[in-house]
Protein backbone atom coordinates (compact mmCIF):
# COMPACT_ATOMS: atom_id res chain seq x y z
CA UNK A 1 0.00 0.00 0.00
CA UNK A 2 2.80 2.40 0.87
CA UNK A 3 4.80 1.55 -2.23
CA UNK A 4 3.01 3.93 -4.61
CA UNK A 5 3.42 7.17 -2.64
CA UNK A 6 7.04 6.35 -1.88
CA UNK A 7 7.90 5.77 -5.53
CA UNK A 8 6.02 8.90 -6.50
CA UNK A 9 7.95 10.86 -3.89
CA UNK A 10 11.18 9.45 -5.29
CA UNK A 11 10.18 10.45 -8.82
CA UNK A 12 9.37 13.95 -7.58
CA UNK A 13 12.70 14.21 -5.78
CA UNK A 14 14.75 12.88 -8.71
CA UNK A 15 15.45 16.25 -10.41
CA UNK A 16 16.52 17.74 -7.10
CA UNK A 17 18.76 14.81 -6.30
CA UNK A 18 20.32 15.18 -9.74
CA UNK A 19 20.91 18.89 -9.13
CA UNK A 20 22.40 18.12 -5.73
CA UNK A 21 24.70 15.53 -7.27
CA UNK A 22 25.82 18.03 -9.93
CA UNK A 23 26.55 20.60 -7.23
CA UNK A 24 28.40 17.96 -5.24
CA UNK A 25 30.92 17.25 -8.02
CA UNK A 26 31.19 20.92 -9.01
CA UNK A 27 34.10 21.89 -6.69
CA UNK A 28 36.28 19.24 -8.39
CA UNK A 29 35.82 21.06 -11.70
CA UNK A 30 36.07 24.65 -10.51
CA UNK A 31 39.03 26.72 -9.39
CA UNK A 32 39.29 27.22 -5.62
CA UNK A 33 38.25 30.87 -5.68
CA UNK A 34 35.03 30.00 -7.48
CA UNK A 35 34.33 27.18 -5.03
CA UNK A 36 34.75 29.67 -2.19
CA UNK A 37 32.48 32.16 -3.92
CA UNK A 38 29.80 29.48 -4.27
CA UNK A 39 30.16 28.50 -0.61
CA UNK A 40 29.57 32.08 0.52
CA UNK A 41 26.73 32.49 -1.99
CA UNK A 42 25.00 29.32 -0.71
CA UNK A 43 25.38 30.42 2.90
CA UNK A 44 23.96 33.86 2.17
CA UNK A 45 21.18 32.27 0.11
CA UNK A 46 19.75 30.93 3.39
CA UNK A 47 19.52 34.45 4.78
CA UNK A 48 17.91 35.59 1.52
CA UNK A 49 15.47 32.70 1.78
CA UNK A 50 14.55 34.08 5.21
CA UNK A 51 13.86 37.51 3.71
CA UNK A 52 11.87 35.89 0.89
CA UNK A 53 9.47 33.94 3.14
CA UNK A 54 8.59 37.18 4.92
CA UNK A 55 8.11 38.91 1.59
CA UNK A 56 5.34 36.43 0.79
CA UNK A 57 3.30 38.22 3.44
CA UNK A 58 4.42 41.58 2.04
CA UNK A 59 6.77 42.13 4.96
CA UNK A 60 10.17 43.52 4.03
CA UNK A 61 12.87 42.94 6.62
CA UNK A 62 15.51 45.64 6.29
CA UNK A 63 17.36 44.16 9.23
CA UNK A 64 18.16 40.58 8.43
CA UNK A 65 21.81 41.38 9.04
CA UNK A 66 20.79 40.99 12.68
CA UNK A 67 20.34 37.22 12.34
CA UNK A 68 23.26 36.94 9.96
CA UNK A 69 25.47 38.55 12.63
CA UNK A 70 23.84 36.59 15.45
CA UNK A 71 24.66 33.29 13.72
CA UNK A 72 28.21 34.40 12.93
CA UNK A 73 28.98 35.74 16.42
CA UNK A 74 27.56 32.56 17.96
CA UNK A 75 30.44 30.79 16.21
CA UNK A 76 32.82 33.53 17.38
CA UNK A 77 31.84 33.48 21.03
CA UNK A 78 31.39 29.73 21.26
CA UNK A 79 34.95 29.39 19.98
CA UNK A 80 36.35 32.11 22.22
CA UNK A 81 34.63 31.22 25.49
CA UNK A 82 33.67 27.56 25.19
CA UNK A 83 36.43 26.46 22.79
CA UNK A 84 33.72 24.83 20.80
CA UNK A 85 34.79 23.86 17.29
CA UNK A 86 32.40 21.14 16.30
CA UNK A 87 30.43 22.23 13.23
CA UNK A 88 27.22 20.41 14.14
CA UNK A 89 27.13 21.86 17.66
CA UNK A 90 27.95 25.34 16.34
CA UNK A 91 25.19 25.12 13.73
CA UNK A 92 22.72 24.01 16.40
CA UNK A 93 23.94 26.85 18.62
CA UNK A 94 23.42 29.41 15.85
CA UNK A 95 19.92 28.05 15.22
CA UNK A 96 19.04 28.27 18.91
CA UNK A 97 20.48 31.78 19.36
CA UNK A 98 18.86 33.24 16.24
CA UNK A 99 15.62 31.41 16.98
CA UNK A 100 15.54 32.79 20.53
CA UNK A 101 16.26 36.28 19.23
CA UNK A 102 13.47 36.01 16.66
CA UNK A 103 11.12 34.60 19.31
CA UNK A 104 11.59 37.74 21.43
CA UNK A 105 11.70 40.38 18.68
CA UNK A 106 8.86 38.65 16.80
CA UNK A 107 6.48 39.30 19.70
CA UNK A 108 6.98 42.95 19.00
CA UNK A 109 7.35 42.94 15.23
CA UNK A 110 4.27 40.81 14.50
CA UNK A 111 2.16 43.84 15.36
CA UNK A 112 3.60 45.96 12.56
CA UNK A 113 3.25 46.08 8.80
CA UNK A 114 4.71 47.92 5.85
CA UNK A 115 7.22 50.66 6.47
CA UNK A 116 6.92 50.31 10.26
CA UNK A 117 7.92 46.67 10.13
CA UNK A 118 10.83 47.52 7.85
CA UNK A 119 12.10 50.39 10.00
CA UNK A 120 11.81 48.38 13.23
CA UNK A 121 13.78 45.46 11.83
CA UNK A 122 16.37 47.98 10.67
CA UNK A 123 16.48 49.58 14.14
CA UNK A 124 17.02 46.22 15.88
CA UNK A 125 19.84 45.28 13.54
CA UNK A 126 21.55 48.65 14.08
CA UNK A 127 21.33 48.18 17.85
CA UNK A 128 23.21 44.90 17.50
CA UNK A 129 25.67 46.61 15.16
CA UNK A 130 26.53 49.30 17.69
CA UNK A 131 26.81 46.73 20.48
CA UNK A 132 29.23 44.66 18.43
CA UNK A 133 31.14 47.83 17.60
CA UNK A 134 31.31 49.30 21.12
CA UNK A 135 31.83 46.25 23.30
CA UNK A 136 35.41 46.23 22.17
CA UNK A 137 36.74 43.99 24.92
CA UNK A 138 34.27 41.26 24.01
CA UNK A 139 33.88 41.57 20.27
CA UNK A 140 37.07 43.21 19.10
CA UNK A 141 35.05 46.13 17.75
CA UNK A 142 35.71 47.03 14.13
CA UNK A 143 38.51 44.47 13.97
CA UNK A 144 35.94 41.73 14.36
CA UNK A 145 36.88 38.24 15.45
CA UNK A 146 38.80 35.46 13.83
CA UNK A 147 36.93 32.15 13.92
CA UNK A 148 38.85 28.90 13.83
CA UNK A 149 37.86 26.46 11.08
CA UNK A 150 35.35 24.00 12.53
CA UNK A 151 35.88 20.31 12.94
CA UNK A 152 33.25 18.13 11.34
CA UNK A 153 32.19 15.29 13.66
CA UNK A 154 35.61 15.25 15.28
CA UNK A 155 37.47 15.34 12.00
CA UNK A 156 39.62 18.38 11.17
CA UNK A 157 39.64 18.88 7.39
CA UNK A 158 42.95 20.79 7.43
CA UNK A 159 44.12 21.47 3.87
CA UNK A 160 40.77 20.36 2.44
CA UNK A 161 38.90 22.92 4.57
CA UNK A 162 37.61 24.86 1.55
CA UNK A 163 35.97 21.80 0.09
CA UNK A 164 34.70 20.65 3.49
CA UNK A 165 33.02 24.04 4.03
CA UNK A 166 31.49 23.81 0.58
CA UNK A 167 29.90 20.43 1.31
CA UNK A 168 28.81 21.48 4.78
CA UNK A 169 27.14 24.59 3.38
CA UNK A 170 25.58 22.68 0.51
CA UNK A 171 24.16 20.13 2.95
CA UNK A 172 22.69 22.82 5.20
CA UNK A 173 21.29 24.66 2.19
CA UNK A 174 19.62 21.49 0.90
CA UNK A 175 18.09 20.92 4.32
CA UNK A 176 16.95 24.56 4.60
CA UNK A 177 15.40 24.42 1.13
CA UNK A 178 13.61 21.15 1.84
CA UNK A 179 12.21 22.44 5.13
CA UNK A 180 11.14 25.76 3.66
CA UNK A 181 9.49 24.03 0.70
CA UNK A 182 7.59 21.82 3.07
CA UNK A 183 6.61 24.83 5.16
CA UNK A 184 5.37 26.71 2.08
CA UNK A 185 3.02 23.87 1.15
CA UNK A 186 1.60 23.64 4.67
CA UNK A 187 -1.46 25.51 5.95
CA UNK A 188 0.87 28.01 7.64
CA UNK A 189 2.71 28.61 4.37
CA UNK A 190 -0.53 29.28 2.51
CA UNK A 191 -1.67 31.49 5.37
CA UNK A 192 1.31 33.76 4.61
CA UNK A 193 -0.09 34.39 1.12
CA UNK A 194 -3.59 34.72 2.53
CA UNK A 195 -2.35 37.39 4.95
CA UNK A 196 -0.85 39.33 2.05
CA UNK A 197 -4.09 39.11 0.07
CA UNK A 198 -6.60 39.86 2.80
CA UNK A 199 -5.65 40.18 6.42
CA UNK A 200 -9.13 41.02 7.68
CA UNK A 201 -10.59 37.95 6.09
CA UNK A 202 -7.96 35.73 7.71
CA UNK A 203 -9.15 36.95 11.09
CA UNK A 204 -12.78 36.51 10.09
CA UNK A 205 -12.08 32.92 9.15
CA UNK A 206 -10.86 32.29 12.65
CA UNK A 207 -7.08 32.36 12.21
CA UNK A 208 -4.69 34.70 13.95
CA UNK A 209 -2.73 36.96 11.60
CA UNK A 210 -0.29 37.87 14.33
CA UNK A 211 0.47 34.25 15.11
CA UNK A 212 0.95 33.52 11.40
CA UNK A 213 3.42 36.38 11.05
CA UNK A 214 5.17 35.44 14.28
CA UNK A 215 5.83 31.89 13.12
CA UNK A 216 6.96 33.06 9.70
CA UNK A 217 9.34 35.46 11.41
CA UNK A 218 10.76 32.64 13.54
CA UNK A 219 11.54 30.57 10.46
CA UNK A 220 12.99 33.62 8.79
CA UNK A 221 15.26 34.41 11.75
CA UNK A 222 16.54 30.84 12.04
CA UNK A 223 17.40 30.80 8.32
CA UNK A 224 19.29 34.06 8.84
CA UNK A 225 21.29 32.66 11.77
CA UNK A 226 22.11 29.50 9.84
CA UNK A 227 23.51 31.53 6.95
CA UNK A 228 25.63 33.68 9.28
CA UNK A 229 27.07 30.63 11.01
CA UNK A 230 28.12 29.05 7.72
CA UNK A 231 29.69 32.26 6.42
CA UNK A 232 31.72 32.43 9.64
CA UNK A 233 32.95 28.87 8.96
CA UNK A 234 34.13 29.51 5.44
CA UNK A 235 35.39 33.10 5.73
CA UNK A 236 37.00 32.63 9.15
CA UNK A 237 36.55 36.26 10.08
CA UNK A 238 33.47 38.08 11.35
CA UNK A 239 32.85 41.78 11.82
CA UNK A 240 30.11 44.12 13.10
CA UNK A 241 29.34 44.99 9.45
CA UNK A 242 27.42 41.71 9.31
CA UNK A 243 24.64 43.55 11.14
CA UNK A 244 25.08 46.86 9.31
CA UNK A 245 22.18 48.16 7.24
CA UNK A 246 24.04 47.90 3.94
CA UNK A 247 24.42 44.17 4.56
CA UNK A 248 20.69 43.87 5.26
CA UNK A 249 20.10 45.95 2.13
CA UNK A 250 22.14 43.43 0.12
CA UNK A 251 19.86 40.64 1.33
CA UNK A 252 16.77 42.52 0.21
CA UNK A 253 18.53 43.35 -3.07
CA UNK A 254 19.25 39.68 -3.70
CA UNK A 255 15.68 38.72 -2.85
CA UNK A 256 14.46 41.11 -5.54
CA UNK A 257 17.18 39.93 -7.90
CA UNK A 258 16.29 36.26 -7.56
CA UNK A 259 12.58 36.55 -6.99
CA UNK A 260 10.57 34.59 -4.45
CA UNK A 261 8.24 32.42 -6.49
CA UNK A 262 10.29 29.35 -5.61
CA UNK A 263 12.65 28.42 -2.79
CA UNK A 264 15.37 28.03 -5.41
CA UNK A 265 15.06 31.62 -6.58
CA UNK A 266 17.08 33.02 -3.63
CA UNK A 267 19.87 30.53 -4.39
CA UNK A 268 19.99 31.67 -7.98
CA UNK A 269 19.88 35.33 -6.91
CA UNK A 270 22.63 34.83 -4.37
CA UNK A 271 25.01 33.08 -6.78
CA UNK A 272 24.43 35.67 -9.51
CA UNK A 273 24.90 38.49 -6.99
CA UNK A 274 28.24 37.16 -5.76
CA UNK A 275 29.46 36.60 -9.33
CA UNK A 276 28.37 40.03 -10.50
CA UNK A 277 29.88 41.72 -7.48
CA UNK A 278 33.12 39.85 -7.98
CA UNK A 279 33.41 40.83 -11.63
CA UNK A 280 32.10 44.34 -11.18
CA UNK A 281 34.70 44.89 -8.48
CA UNK A 282 37.49 43.51 -10.64
CA UNK A 283 36.36 45.63 -13.58
CA UNK A 284 36.07 48.90 -11.73
CA UNK A 285 36.85 48.87 -8.00
CA UNK A 286 35.39 52.32 -7.36
CA UNK A 287 32.08 52.15 -9.17
CA UNK A 288 31.06 48.51 -8.71
CA UNK A 289 28.00 49.59 -6.74
CA UNK A 290 26.86 51.55 -9.77
CA UNK A 291 26.94 48.36 -11.84
CA UNK A 292 24.85 46.59 -9.22
CA UNK A 293 22.37 49.49 -9.14
CA UNK A 294 22.07 49.34 -12.91
CA UNK A 295 21.36 45.63 -12.79
CA UNK A 296 18.69 46.05 -10.13
CA UNK A 297 17.09 48.74 -12.27
CA UNK A 298 16.98 46.40 -15.26
CA UNK A 299 15.54 43.59 -13.14
CA UNK A 300 12.74 45.74 -11.75
CA UNK A 301 11.89 47.04 -15.23
CA UNK A 302 12.13 43.85 -17.24
CA UNK A 303 12.05 40.92 -14.82
CA UNK A 304 9.81 42.08 -11.99
CA UNK A 305 9.58 38.54 -10.66
CA UNK A 306 13.31 38.17 -10.52
CA UNK A 307 15.83 36.06 -12.36
CA UNK A 308 13.89 32.93 -11.44
CA UNK A 309 11.15 33.95 -13.87
CA UNK A 310 13.63 33.26 -16.68
CA UNK A 311 13.65 29.59 -15.68
CA UNK A 312 9.99 29.27 -14.72
CA UNK A 313 8.03 31.50 -17.08
CA UNK A 314 4.43 32.10 -16.17
CA UNK A 315 1.54 33.81 -17.83
CA UNK A 316 2.25 37.54 -17.97
CA UNK A 317 1.28 39.12 -14.69
CA UNK A 318 1.27 42.66 -13.46
CA UNK A 319 4.49 44.02 -12.05
CA UNK A 320 4.41 43.39 -8.28
CA UNK A 321 6.69 46.36 -7.66
CA UNK A 322 4.53 48.97 -9.32
CA UNK A 323 0.95 47.76 -9.09
CA UNK A 324 -0.53 48.19 -5.66
CA UNK A 325 -2.80 45.63 -4.05
CA UNK A 326 -6.38 45.32 -5.20
CA UNK A 327 -7.84 46.84 -2.06
Amino acid sequence: MRGAPVSRALAGAAPWLAALLALAILPRLLPDWLGFLLTVAFAKAMVVLGVAVLLRSNLVSFGHGLYFAAGAYTVGFAGKWLHLRDAVLLILGAVVVSGALAAVLGLFLARYRGIFFGMLTLAFSMILYSLLLRLYSLTGGTDGMVTAPPTILGFAPGAAAGRAHYYLTLGCLALALALTRRWLSSPLGYLASAIRDNEIRVEYMGASVRQGIYRTYLLSGVLGGLGGCLVAFSVGHIAPEFSYWTQSGDFVFVTVLGGYASVFAPVMGSVVFELVRNYAYALSPYTWQMSLGGILLLIVLFLPRGLWSLLAPRAPVSNPWTSSSKR
Partner: protein, 233 residues
Protein backbone atom coordinates in the same frame (compact mmCIF):
# COMPACT_ATOMS: atom_id res chain seq x y z
CA UNK B 1 -38.62 28.63 18.14
CA UNK B 2 -35.09 28.66 19.42
CA UNK B 3 -33.24 31.91 19.12
CA UNK B 4 -29.84 31.78 17.40
CA UNK B 5 -28.94 35.41 17.67
CA UNK B 6 -30.27 38.01 20.02
CA UNK B 7 -29.18 41.65 20.23
CA UNK B 8 -30.46 43.79 23.07
CA UNK B 9 -30.27 47.58 23.18
CA UNK B 10 -27.19 47.96 20.98
CA UNK B 11 -25.80 51.48 20.74
CA UNK B 12 -22.89 52.77 18.68
CA UNK B 13 -22.17 56.27 17.45
CA UNK B 14 -19.59 57.62 15.04
CA UNK B 15 -19.26 61.29 15.88
CA UNK B 16 -22.75 62.70 15.47
CA UNK B 17 -24.02 59.70 13.49
CA UNK B 18 -26.06 57.14 15.37
CA UNK B 19 -25.15 53.91 13.66
CA UNK B 20 -26.97 51.81 16.24
CA UNK B 21 -29.56 53.38 18.49
CA UNK B 22 -31.10 51.05 21.07
CA UNK B 23 -31.20 48.28 18.51
CA UNK B 24 -32.81 45.00 19.54
CA UNK B 25 -33.54 41.98 17.38
CA UNK B 26 -33.98 38.20 17.68
CA UNK B 27 -33.19 35.81 14.88
CA UNK B 28 -34.42 32.22 14.99
CA UNK B 29 -32.83 29.04 13.75
CA UNK B 30 -32.91 28.55 10.01
CA UNK B 31 -34.23 32.00 9.18
CA UNK B 32 -32.98 33.84 6.12
CA UNK B 33 -33.19 37.51 6.99
CA UNK B 34 -32.68 40.43 4.63
CA UNK B 35 -31.61 43.85 5.86
CA UNK B 36 -32.50 46.93 3.82
CA UNK B 37 -32.31 50.65 4.41
CA UNK B 38 -30.65 53.79 3.06
CA UNK B 39 -26.91 54.41 3.16
CA UNK B 40 -25.68 55.21 6.65
CA UNK B 41 -28.67 53.61 8.32
CA UNK B 42 -26.46 51.19 10.26
CA UNK B 43 -26.83 47.96 8.27
CA UNK B 44 -23.14 47.18 8.04
CA UNK B 45 -22.55 48.49 11.57
CA UNK B 46 -25.00 45.87 12.79
CA UNK B 47 -23.01 43.10 11.08
CA UNK B 48 -19.78 44.58 12.43
CA UNK B 49 -21.16 44.60 15.97
CA UNK B 50 -22.41 41.04 15.76
CA UNK B 51 -19.15 39.69 14.36
CA UNK B 52 -16.96 41.54 16.84
CA UNK B 53 -15.33 43.96 14.42
CA UNK B 54 -16.85 46.77 16.48
CA UNK B 55 -17.78 46.79 20.16
CA UNK B 56 -21.12 48.36 21.10
CA UNK B 57 -21.10 51.32 23.49
CA UNK B 58 -24.12 49.74 25.18
CA UNK B 59 -26.14 46.57 24.83
CA UNK B 60 -25.46 42.85 24.60
CA UNK B 61 -25.27 40.26 21.88
CA UNK B 62 -26.05 36.61 22.53
CA UNK B 63 -25.33 33.75 20.18
CA UNK B 64 -27.03 30.46 21.06
CA UNK B 65 -27.65 31.83 24.54
CA UNK B 66 -23.98 32.68 25.08
CA UNK B 67 -22.94 36.30 25.41
CA UNK B 68 -20.53 37.28 22.62
CA UNK B 69 -20.48 41.05 23.19
CA UNK B 70 -16.99 42.45 22.70
CA UNK B 71 -15.41 39.18 21.59
CA UNK B 72 -12.73 39.32 18.90
CA UNK B 73 -13.89 38.44 15.33
CA UNK B 74 -11.68 35.35 15.47
CA UNK B 75 -13.44 34.09 18.59
CA UNK B 76 -16.86 34.85 17.15
CA UNK B 77 -15.96 32.92 14.01
CA UNK B 78 -14.78 29.97 16.08
CA UNK B 79 -18.24 29.83 17.68
CA UNK B 80 -19.76 29.43 14.22
CA UNK B 81 -20.65 32.90 12.97
CA UNK B 82 -19.21 33.50 9.51
CA UNK B 83 -19.21 36.72 7.60
CA UNK B 84 -18.62 37.82 4.04
CA UNK B 85 -17.92 41.31 2.79
CA UNK B 86 -19.36 43.90 0.44
CA UNK B 87 -16.77 43.44 -2.24
CA UNK B 88 -16.29 39.71 -2.77
CA UNK B 89 -13.06 39.14 -0.94
CA UNK B 90 -10.99 36.08 -1.47
CA UNK B 91 -7.33 35.31 -1.35
CA UNK B 92 -6.81 36.46 -4.87
CA UNK B 93 -3.42 34.88 -5.31
CA UNK B 94 -4.73 31.45 -4.38
CA UNK B 95 -6.87 29.22 -6.55
CA UNK B 96 -10.49 28.53 -5.68
CA UNK B 97 -9.51 25.10 -4.41
CA UNK B 98 -6.71 26.57 -2.29
CA UNK B 99 -9.11 29.15 -0.88
CA UNK B 100 -11.36 26.32 0.21
CA UNK B 101 -8.47 24.24 1.56
CA UNK B 102 -7.17 27.16 3.63
CA UNK B 103 -10.66 27.72 5.03
CA UNK B 104 -10.97 24.05 5.96
CA UNK B 105 -7.51 24.01 7.54
CA UNK B 106 -8.36 27.04 9.65
CA UNK B 107 -11.67 25.50 10.69
CA UNK B 108 -9.83 22.36 11.78
CA UNK B 109 -7.49 24.52 13.88
CA UNK B 110 -4.52 23.70 11.66
CA UNK B 111 -3.62 27.26 10.64
CA UNK B 112 -0.42 27.19 12.69
CA UNK B 113 0.80 23.92 11.22
CA UNK B 114 3.99 24.53 9.27
CA UNK B 115 4.91 20.91 8.86
CA UNK B 116 2.16 18.83 7.28
CA UNK B 117 0.90 19.61 3.77
CA UNK B 118 -2.18 21.72 3.13
CA UNK B 119 -3.28 19.40 0.34
CA UNK B 120 -3.92 16.24 2.27
CA UNK B 121 -6.07 13.60 0.66
CA UNK B 122 -8.68 13.94 3.42
CA UNK B 123 -8.90 17.69 3.04
CA UNK B 124 -9.18 17.48 -0.74
CA UNK B 125 -11.98 14.95 -0.34
CA UNK B 126 -13.74 17.42 1.93
CA UNK B 127 -13.17 20.44 -0.31
CA UNK B 128 -14.28 19.00 -3.65
CA UNK B 129 -17.93 18.23 -2.78
CA UNK B 130 -18.24 21.60 -1.05
CA UNK B 131 -17.01 23.37 -4.16
CA UNK B 132 -19.37 21.31 -6.31
CA UNK B 133 -22.25 22.32 -4.09
CA UNK B 134 -21.52 25.92 -4.97
CA UNK B 135 -21.16 25.02 -8.62
CA UNK B 136 -17.38 24.99 -8.88
CA UNK B 137 -15.26 22.48 -10.68
CA UNK B 138 -11.66 22.03 -9.67
CA UNK B 139 -9.53 25.15 -9.47
CA UNK B 140 -12.11 27.18 -11.29
CA UNK B 141 -11.37 30.88 -11.31
CA UNK B 142 -14.90 31.91 -10.42
CA UNK B 143 -15.83 33.64 -7.22
CA UNK B 144 -16.47 31.19 -4.41
CA UNK B 145 -17.42 31.94 -0.85
CA UNK B 146 -15.47 29.84 1.53
CA UNK B 147 -17.62 29.62 4.57
CA UNK B 148 -17.71 27.17 7.41
CA UNK B 149 -20.83 25.09 7.03
CA UNK B 150 -23.54 24.53 9.56
CA UNK B 151 -23.11 27.81 11.35
CA UNK B 152 -24.73 31.08 10.83
CA UNK B 153 -23.71 33.50 8.24
CA UNK B 154 -23.88 37.20 7.67
CA UNK B 155 -23.65 38.48 4.14
CA UNK B 156 -23.01 42.11 3.40
CA UNK B 157 -24.46 42.80 -0.05
CA UNK B 158 -23.62 39.40 -1.48
CA UNK B 159 -24.48 40.48 -4.99
CA UNK B 160 -22.61 43.78 -5.13
CA UNK B 161 -19.86 43.55 -7.68
CA UNK B 162 -21.77 40.86 -9.52
CA UNK B 163 -23.41 41.75 -12.84
CA UNK B 164 -27.19 42.03 -12.95
CA UNK B 165 -27.56 38.95 -15.10
CA UNK B 166 -25.53 36.83 -12.67
CA UNK B 167 -27.27 38.10 -9.57
CA UNK B 168 -30.06 35.59 -9.37
CA UNK B 169 -27.77 32.76 -10.40
CA UNK B 170 -25.37 33.62 -7.56
CA UNK B 171 -28.18 34.01 -5.05
CA UNK B 172 -29.96 30.84 -6.19
CA UNK B 173 -26.81 28.84 -5.54
CA UNK B 174 -25.99 30.61 -2.31
CA UNK B 175 -29.42 30.59 -0.72
CA UNK B 176 -30.01 27.08 -2.03
CA UNK B 177 -26.99 25.78 -0.14
CA UNK B 178 -27.83 27.88 2.91
CA UNK B 179 -31.38 26.51 3.13
CA UNK B 180 -30.32 22.97 2.40
CA UNK B 181 -27.74 22.97 5.17
CA UNK B 182 -30.02 24.77 7.63
CA UNK B 183 -27.70 27.73 8.07
CA UNK B 184 -29.30 30.75 9.67
CA UNK B 185 -28.33 33.79 7.65
CA UNK B 186 -28.61 37.54 7.57
CA UNK B 187 -27.83 39.47 4.42
CA UNK B 188 -27.67 43.15 3.59
CA UNK B 189 -28.93 43.97 0.13
CA UNK B 190 -29.79 47.06 -1.88
CA UNK B 191 -31.54 45.21 -4.66
CA UNK B 192 -35.20 44.87 -3.63
CA UNK B 193 -35.85 42.13 -6.20
CA UNK B 194 -33.23 40.02 -4.50
CA UNK B 195 -34.65 40.75 -1.04
CA UNK B 196 -38.20 39.94 -2.14
CA UNK B 197 -37.15 36.73 -3.73
CA UNK B 198 -34.82 35.27 -1.11
CA UNK B 199 -35.55 36.73 2.32
CA UNK B 200 -38.29 35.29 4.48
CA UNK B 201 -38.06 38.19 6.89
CA UNK B 202 -36.96 41.74 6.18
CA UNK B 203 -35.56 44.27 8.63
CA UNK B 204 -35.74 47.89 7.53
CA UNK B 205 -33.02 50.05 9.07
CA UNK B 206 -33.12 53.82 9.45
CA UNK B 207 -30.77 55.94 11.52
CA UNK B 208 -29.57 53.02 13.58
CA UNK B 209 -33.03 51.70 14.35
CA UNK B 210 -35.20 48.95 12.98
CA UNK B 211 -38.32 50.69 11.70
CA UNK B 212 -40.01 47.64 10.19
CA UNK B 213 -39.71 43.90 10.68
CA UNK B 214 -42.00 41.86 8.42
CA UNK B 215 -42.10 39.12 5.83
CA UNK B 216 -41.34 40.64 2.41
CA UNK B 217 -44.90 40.16 1.12
CA UNK B 218 -46.44 42.29 3.86
CA UNK B 219 -43.61 44.75 3.90
CA UNK B 220 -43.58 45.63 0.25
CA UNK B 221 -47.38 46.04 0.28
CA UNK B 222 -47.04 48.86 2.83
CA UNK B 223 -47.30 52.22 1.00
CA UNK B 224 -45.02 53.99 3.49
CA UNK B 225 -42.29 51.44 2.98
CA UNK B 226 -42.81 51.58 -0.76
CA UNK B 227 -42.27 55.31 -0.71
CA UNK B 228 -39.28 55.30 1.67
CA UNK B 229 -37.41 52.26 0.46
CA UNK B 230 -38.44 51.76 -3.11
CA UNK B 231 -38.64 55.50 -3.79
CA UNK B 232 -42.06 55.21 -5.39
CA UNK B 233 -44.30 58.23 -5.65
Amino acid sequence: MDVVLEAVGLAKTFGAVKAADDLSVRISRGQVVGIVGPNGSGKTTFLNLVTGYLSPARGQIHYLGKEITGLHPRQVTRLGVARSFQVPQLYTSLTVLENMLVALAIRAGRQGDGWRALRTRARLAEARPLLEKFGFGDESGQVVRTLPEGGRKLLDEPTSGVSAADKFRVMDTLIGVIRESGVTSVFVEHDMDVVQRYAERVLVFSEGRIIADDPPGALFADPVVRRHILGEE
